[in-house]
């Protein structure tokens, strides 16, 4: 069953993800997306999702940081604590693909969790380029693209 996913994010946050990827280039950057998903709120239908804060993390993959990233369970718990302090949830994760397109790799899919939004920013020759988001399907076999709606704060 094809499902339409959409992720809202403020322009400033989207640009920060790109800058993080540029700073760590040629290594991959990673971080948590903190926000809200209406699926967990009482009396709402559907699953509107919005990113409201970022929690940048250190890539724990010392051995191949140019094409891999890792976030430990301790980092995940810390990100969840920070989210709770803001009254938010961890709704997903972002990472960069240095000199590669913003498409999930097979490695990305094999290691993905369902439900989370996975934002990938392509960083070409050190400059942020395309950004895309996707979610793992329930069957774990494939993924669905998620449309990113970039919002200017003033318009909210």
């Amino acid at each position: 069953m094809a499902q339409e996913f959409q992720l809202q994010i403020g322009r400033e946050l989207a640009e920060r993800i790109g800058r993080h990827g540029a700073e760590t280039f040629p290594h991959e950057c990673c971080g948590a997306l903190l926000g809200r998903d209406s699926a967990f709120e009482e009396g709402t239908a559907g699953s509107a999702r919005e990113v409201l804060e970022l929690f940048p993390l250190v890539n724990r993959r010392d051995d191949s940081p140019r094409n891999r990233f890792a976030v430990t369970a301790e980092d995940v718990l810390e990100a969840e604590n920070v989210a709770r302090q803001h009254g938010l949830d961890v709704v997903g994760w972002y990472h960069s693909h240095p000199d590669h397109p913003a498409r999930p790799s097979q490695f990305d899919r094999e290691h993905a969790w369902p439900w989370y939004s996975y934002i990938i920013v392509s960083v070409m020759s050190g400059a942020p380029a395309d950004m895309a988001s996707w979610r793992l399907n329930d069957d774990r076999q494939d993924y669905s693209p998620e449309r990113i709606e970039i919002r200017d704060r003033a318009a909210v």
Partner: protein, 131 residues
């Protein structure tokens, strides 16, 4: 079935004793809380935790997937092993540093399932492999 039945089948006494202990312990299952991580709550009626009855961490996870069958494929591989990016804590201790899934549980223990996150781009081109 009792230990005597097993002895009648020709098994060693030690095996029968172990079976008897196992049988006795099933009378004393512990009430354990399992914390379900955010990405899996959609497969668990949106609950953030579940109460299960178990003697070990492995049984607690089994109890959880018995309640919510859809969780199974996200926690375990096809051959029944915990997925590598699924971390399980008993209270604050990583079970990898204890007896793993055989770690015994007590009444009131909390078993937490915590994700770790990994990914990366496609296989590196040759110039990277040489670095």
């Amino acid at each position: 079935m009792t230990g005597r039945t097993i002895r009648q089948n020709g098994l060693k006494f030690a095996t029968a004793r172990r079976f008897e202990f196992g049988y006795a312990e099933t009378e004393k299952n512990m009430a354990v809380k399992v914390i379900i991580p955010t990405p899996l709550r959609v497969y668990a009626a949106k609950k953030d935790s579940a109460e299960v009855s178990a003697q070990t961490v492995g049984e607690a996870l089994g109890g959880l997937t018995a309640q919510f069958a859809e969780l199974r494929k996200h926690l375990f591989t096809d051959d029944g092993k915990l997925r590598s990016f699924v971390n399980v804590y008993l209270n604050d201790e990583d079970i990898r540093y204890m007896a793993k899934e055989a770690t015994p549980v007590k009444d009131g223990d909390v078993v937490s399932i915590v994700p770790s996150i990994a990914g990366g781009n496609a296989a590196p081109p040759n110039r990277r492999a040489q670095e």
